[in-house]
């Protein structure tokens, strides 16, 4: 197991070295000729205006919240899936599948809830009583 994580480490190191090499080579080779307008933030050719850190729409936060919940769900289901094969070999496959489906089903209710309440829609239309 630790050997597999050594692979991960080598991968991270190779990525870092590649990025450093590319940026370093560029830094070594390119002529240094700074100018005020060159150093300004690139905004599709337009003169940049205002701060880059603007207030996000709260929609992003709502979607991120929903995402985190299902992220944790994946974290729960993942080890069960690893052990699933042995249960199938023992002939308890259907039972375990039902257990997993029950787990996912409860959370599916949550997805149905946010869907039905239109929280997944970008522009939420609150129907007002006419």
């Amino acid at each position: 197991m630790n050997f597999q994580f050594a692979n991960v480490l080598v991968y991270i190191l190779l990525g870092a070295i590649t990025a450093a090499l590319m940026l370093g080579l560029g830094w070594l080779l390119r002529p240094s000729n700074p100018e005020r307008r060159k150093l300004s933030t690139y905004e599709c050719g337009e003169p940049p205006s205002g701060s880059a850190w603007i207030n996000f729409n709260i929609r992003f936060y709502l979607v991120a919240l929903i995402f985190v919940v299902f992220d944790v769900e994946v974290a729960f289901v993942y080890p069960v899936v690893v052990a699933f094969r042995d249960y199938v070999l023992q002939g308890k496959g259907l039972l375990v599948l039902a257990e997993i489906l029950f787990f996912v089903g409860i959370l599916f209710v949550g997805l149905v809830y946010v869907w039905a309440k239109r929280d997944l829609e970008w522009v939420k239309q609150v129907r007002t009583a006419a």
Binding site: F5, V69, A83
Partner: protein
């Protein structure tokens, strides 16, 4: 030798990230430093032989919670010049408190009867912990496993109900 060097490198990475979180003037930089800390913690989990925990740390904390933190910062209106209503008590009381807690923790570290469970770590390092966790979920911990789903559902609905309020008007 390489193992120890690697451990200290990752620990240094983690602590440096924590320093960045604490001492950064800009709250956005603090959030990005938090990423280093969380990544480093994932690395430390690997050293403990807790491979599944390391993966979940990456998946949930680095992938989810951090994004949520960044969004929360971006969403907060003019977070950099917010008027702090309850100010900190100052440096000297803080220093005293940190010193006290530090001494307490150092004492606990020195006095604790550390149990080096070499075989457990070696077993986990050999075959990984994911299968064991999954097996436990389907066996003796089936009810907590299913209950976790209900907890998650409650969290989801509660979070949505709470954060939706502001959009209505």
């Amino acid at each position: 030798m390489i193992y120890a060097a690697l451990f200290y490198a990752i620990a240094l990475f983690t602590v440096a990230g924590a320093f960045g979180v604490a001492f950064s003037e800009n709250v956005v930089y603090s959030a990005f430093s938090l990423m280093a800390t969380l990544l480093g913690a994932a690395g430390l989990y690997v050293f403990l032989g807790a491979d599944f925990l390391a993966a979940v740390q990456l998946l949930v904390y680095v992938g989810g919670i951090l994004v949520l933190t960044l969004f929360a910062i971006m969403l907060t209106h003019q977070i950099s010049d917010v008027e702090v209503s309850n100010r900190a008590v100052g440096r000297w009381p803080a220093l005293g408190l940190v010193g006290f807690v530090g001494i307490a923790m150092a004492t606990a570290l020195v006095r604790a009867p550390w149990k080096v469970s070499g075989e457990v770590v070696a077993k986990a390092a050999g075959e990984g912990t994911t299968y064991g966790i999954g097996d436990a979920f389907l066996g003796p911990f089936l009810l907590p496993f299913e209950l976790a789903s209900i907890v998650l559902l409650t969290a989801l609905v509660g979070a949505i109900v709470l954060s939706r309020k502001e959009i209505r008007d």
